[in-house]
């Protein structure tokens, strides 16, 4: 029977995979993917805690759903930004999107 710790370890690993992607990827879309992985890891934590720490309350699942909703918002806006940036700068590589730095 996997215990809470199992899920937490899985979530930690998933989170760090996402972190790695966010920190090292050049492509804006790939960075968004990393963020999604991190959010998923957080959700795993929420749901796991819901089951193992406070089964009576539904807060964990409720907040996981909210996080999913916000993740959808974030993906929509983020991808719109990438699209807009690509349209005006013709690149999706965030280190090349630097006109505001001058």
């Amino acid at each position: 029977m996997p215990a809470l710790t199992h899920y937490l370890v899985l979530s930690a690993l998933l989170f760090c995979l996402g972190l790695f992607a966010v920190v090292t990827r050049r492509n804006g879309v790939a960075i968004l993917m990393g963020i999604e992985l991190m959010l998923n890891a957080a959700n795993v934590n929420l749901v796991a805690f819901n089951k193992f720490a406070a089964p009576g309350a539904m807060q964990g699942q409720v907040f996981a759903l909210i996080v999913i909703t916000l993740a959808a918002c974030e993906a929509a806006v983020g991808l719109a930004l990438v699209l807009a940036a690509y349209r005006s700068l013709e690149t999706v590589y965030v280190d090349e999107i630097n006109v505001m730095k001058w």
């Binding site: 972190l19 966010v22 920190v23 090292t24 990827r25 960075i31 965030v94 280190d95 630097n98 730095k101």
Partner: protein, 623 residues
């Protein structure tokens, strides 16, 4: 009444200074009226204070200014016979000189500024006189030094004036530095800067022995610098680059006398040093200076420089008097000297104003053209040379009597100085006023037609008033009248030296001998001046080169000093600058390295954030 509000007196010139600085050109008479009004008022008040002091009024106002650690730093003003006398003297002399300046400085483009400086100086000097503690004295000391610097360099377009100003400032600064150390030493040992506290501490044995001697000598260092005593006398002759009223006021009557006043003010310091060691030093410095400076005056052709050497010499007499326990004698000489030396300078200024040159060789026969100037100048000269019954006779002989009573060698030095003084003053008078005019009449200052003429009344009236002082002031200290000055200004623990008629006769004879010798050379041409020069060329050369003191200083400070300076420069360039450059280089390299952190990219910042998280947790765990 006035005694207790005497502290207001210095503020009058200060107000004048502020007014002139801000509204100079727009004030009546381009600011001079304000300046004159302020100082005349101050002089009247000073005379009033003197009158009250004669009536026995005393005041000592003390305030606690700040508390340094646990020691209260008190400041205040003192009115006693000494300061009252000085107050009146400074006020009167300064008033007359300020009035005279209106004529002398007429047409100068920086006319208001001159009066502003003059007022500032008057404030500083009055402030100095009234101070009852070392702190105020030192502040005023530096202020008069600053004014001296500004006024010597008033015509700063002339490189010589600018150089002289810097020289005066730097040379006096050497003395000031010693004085500051002395003051700090006293403060450290006694914990107060107030004269009364210090004297009481000395009496109680709070400080004594070599330390007291050292402190006294250090304070005396300031006096040596300010009063142009050997070996720091070199700045005063050069200071004659300033306008003549400045020479009269600052470099004859008041500021240079401040050194003497300081010694008198802090007399217990010197008196109580073991075996009178400090007083002896004061006496010898004064005695040597008296003769030494006088001899240099013999070969000088610049009329103001002759008077400057004379001033140095007379200041030496004052120091000699103080050093030989002649407290009253020294101070009396200070007062009389202030009047007749101011008169001499103003007379010289009157001459210079007309002939537009300082060179005596290009003057002559001015007695006919400028009678007022001549007669007043002559009176002052007689006073200076100690011919009875003029003022200098009484004061100088009191000093010499004090010297005779304690140290025959110094007495001999003083007598020799008196002879030389009479000689060079006779030379000056004959060169300037007798014979034929040897120069050419300048168009600028001459009346229409280019004839030599007397100076305007605004200049001659102060001359006449000063001449009255030069002639009659001496009786104030006449032994025949019971010496009222000494009864008023004296130091309880020293008895006045006895005066003998024989000594007076000898002194008078020596002075007359000086006159006769001068007359023999310059009036009746029994011995030609050039012949004298040829007879002992080394002596002449020695005197012309001012005993090589300036050259010595040049070698020591400019030659030897240059090595030090070069070393310091190298140190500055390679060590200090190198350090600074190294810091700059380090910062630059750091920046060059760190700019890779400042990428402007969120990924990097996020990475650093998480790196920070990891590090913080690791550090926390390591504890």
């Amino acid at each position: 009444m006035l005694t207790h509000i005497a502290w207001i007196i210095p503020l009058l010139p200060l107000a004048a200074f502020a007014l002139i600085v801000f509204w100079g050109e727009r004030l009546p008479a381009r600011g001079s009226a304000v300046s004159i009004a302020a100082i005349v008022l101050a002089a009247l008040a000073g005379l009033g204070v003197l009158g009250e002091a004669l009536g026995g009024a005393r005041a000592d106002l003390t305030y606690t200014w700040v508390v340094v650690g646990s020691r209260p730093l008190t400041v205040g003003f003192v009115v006693d016979p000494l300061s009252a006398t000085m107050l009146a003297m400074v006020g009167v002399v300064a008033s007359l000189i300020t009035i005279y300046s209106v004529g002398y400085m007429q047409g100068d483009p920086r006319f208001p500024r001159f009066f502003a400086y003059l007022s500032l100086f008057q404030f500083s000097m009055l402030f100095l006189v009234l101070a009852d503690n070392f702190l105020f004295i030192y502040m005023a000391w530096e202020l008069v030094g600053l004014c001296s610097y500004l006024l010597i360099g008033f015509w700063f377009e002339r490189p010589s004036a600018a150089r002289a100003a810097v020289k005066a400032f730097v040379v006096t600064r050497i003395g000031d530095f010693a004085m500051m150390i002395g003051i700090l030493l006293l403060f450290l040992r006694i914990g107060s800067l107030r004269f009364d506290d210090i004297f009481r501490a000395i009496d109680l044995g709070g400080i004594g022995g070599p330390t007291l001697t050292l402190a006294a000598l250090l304070v005396f260092g300031g006096a040596v610098g300010k009063s142009a005593q050997v070996p720091l006398h070199v700045w005063l002759p050069d200071a004659m680059e300033g306008p003549t009223p400045v020479s009269a006021l600052i470099h004859a009557a008041t500021m240079v006398a401040a050194g003497v006043y300081l010694v008198a003010r802090t007399y217990p310091l010197f008196l109580l040093s073991p075996n009178h060691a400090a007083l002896t030093v004061v006496a010898y410095v004064g005695g040597v200076t008296a003769l030494f400076a006088a001899t240099m005056g013999v070969v000088e052709d610049d009329i103001k420089r002759v008077l400057a050497y004379s001033t140095v010499s007379q200041l030496g007499y004052m120091m000699l008097g103080l050093g030989m326990l002649g407290y009253s004698a020294g101070m009396f000489h200070l007062i009389t000297h202030a009047f007749f030396k101011a008169l001499l300078f103003l007379g010289a200024g009157s001459v210079i104003h007309v002939v537009a040159t300082n060179d005596m060789k290009r003057m002559g026969g001015l007695a006919r053209a400028m009678p007022v100037t001549f007669w007043t100048f002559l009176a002052a000269t007689l006073a200076l040379t100690g011919i009875p019954p003029f003022a200098g006779f009484f004061s100088k002989d009191a000093v010499l009597a004090a010297a005779y009573a304690h140290d025959k060698i110094l007495w001999l030095l003083g007598m020799a100085g008196a002879f030389v003084t009479a000689f060079y003053m006779g030379r000056l008078c004959w060169y300037t006023f007798a014979g034929e005019f040897r120069g050419e009449v300048p168009a600028a200052h001459g009346a229409p037609g280019g004839a030599l003429h007397e100076s305007p009344a605004v200049m001659t009236v102060p001359l006449v008033i000063l001449a009255l002082f030069a002639v009659f002031l001496g009786w104030v200290g006449a032994g025949a009248l019971g010496n009222p000055f000494e009864r008023f200004v004296h130091f309880e623990r020293v008895a006045p030296a006895p005066e003998s008629p024989g000594m007076l006769a000898v002194a008078t004879a020596v002075a007359l001998a000086g006159w006769v010798a001068a007359g023999a050379v310059y009036a009746w041409k029994i011995v030609s001046a050039s012949g004298l020069r040829r007879a002992c060329p080394w002596a002449y050369r020695l005197l012309v080169r001012k005993y090589y003191v300036d050259d010595l200083y040049a070698i020591v400070f400019l030659g030897l000093g240059a090595l030090v300076i070069r070393a310091a420069r190298a140190f500055d360039q390679y060590v200090v600058d190198g350090l600074v450059n190294a810091l700059g280089w380090l910062a630059r390299q750091l920046g060059l390295g760190l700019r890779y952190v400042q990428t402007g990219r969120a990924e990097t910042y996020l990475l650093i954030v998480f790196l920070g998280v990891v590090l913080i947790v690791l550090v926390r765990l390591a504890w």
